[in-house]
Subunit: 193 residues, 2 copies
DNA sequence: CGAAAAACTTGGTGTCACTCCAAATTTTGG
DNA sequence: CCAAAATTTGGAGTGACACCAAGTTTTTCG
């Protein structure tokens, strides 16, 4: 990687970091792209060179997230059902305290930004749909219905975690409750896929 | 209702009709609000007086749609489970050839507009979420997880209908296939709510 | 009926995300 | 060191939408 790519990486993170800081301070909708550009010492055009939309300043590189359910199904052991695989992956992340779960301290601030912005909420819905699409492709049946239901359960569990965190419940209690919900839901859904 | 309200109604439908015509002809994203205003002989400001956003020109009065699942649950007979109630309501609409199903001729043109516009697809996702929210409130358990799963199934069934219609399958065949899918899915899900 | 009040429409002005283009500027490979 | 390639930038535009201060129309009430 030459000097050029190093600089690009630096510029990109400088922009994203400036953006996050501003969003945390003022909220997504009260920050303009021009402000972000100024804070990062670049032009507005450069911001759009790196990030196709303003929302991408916060939701950057979501490929991994979008493909998570599909990957869980794809990588499952022979004989394991898709729903069981997704369940197992979810519980694994729960035990491992995966940062994307929103259970770790600091997550609240992030999701607060999202919850207060219609544009970001729309983006979350889009990511959810992309997740569903990817899952449908990974299912041996290719069933959109099964994919929709499994993705809905996964999404609802994540949402429930955030809701409880916001409500101030302690992490261990949340983990226990969510674990029970997940096991119950996915075992029911299992008959679909 | 006085003269004023009659005029208002006339203006509103004139705007919506002009908009639909233009959207059908050119696609949502290739029509500006200014064009719609001109076609309806009003000012741009007046368009926004009646419709809060450009998307509302197409998705007007979606309250009914958003509350459909909640109403099915709310109005169910004693002893019927929520999932069963939603299933029954869905099958009823299928038999009755409800226009919002997308099975009737002309529906393709409408959904083509939607499918080609990112903004309208985002709006559909929002309506889906509102549907889910309303359903959660209507469930005796209030379970967001159950609501999410039921709403996902309902949404997926609608999407599947549209997909098959687009693919050119005959309506009776679609109805039969969807009926089977719905019965299977909701009976499985039944154990959740 | 007639005039003030209330409701509606309009023009104007401004903001902000985002696009397109052409002119710098920087980096790299030869 | 120089020319090609990549990057950054300024500038001009577009379109949705907010806000406000005039009109204009409809209603209300004396």
């Amino acid at each position: 990687m030459g000097l050029r790519d190093e600089k690009k990486q630096a510029t990109r993170t400088a922009i994203a970091d400036s953006a996050l800081e501003l969003f945390l301070a003022k909220g997504f909708d009260r920050v303009t792209v021009a402000e972000v550009a100024r804070a990062a010492n670049v032009s507005v055009n450069t911001v759009f060179n790196y990030f196709p939309t303003k929302e991408d300043l916060l939701f950057d590189r979501q490929d991994e997230v979008v493909r998570r359910l599909a990957r869980a199904v794809h990588d499952r052991a022979g004989g394991e059902s898709p729903a069981a695989a997704v369940c197992r992956a979810f519980l694994g992340r729960l035990d491992r305290d995966d940062p994307t779960l929103g259970l770790r301290p600091g997550a609240e601030r992030f999701w607060r930004i999202v919850d207060e912005s219609p544009a970001l909420l729309a983006r979350v819905r889009m990511l959810r749909e992309l997740t569903e699409d990817a899952l449908a492709e990974a299912l041996p049946s290719g069933s959109r219905l099964a994919a929709a239901v499994i993705a809905a359960a996964d999404h609802a569990l994540h949402a429930e975690i955030r809701r409880r965190v916001t409500r101030g419940e302690p992490a261990p209690a949340i983990r226990a409750a969510i674990r029970a919900d997940a096991e119950r839901a996915f075992s029911v859904i299992d008959a679909l896929a």
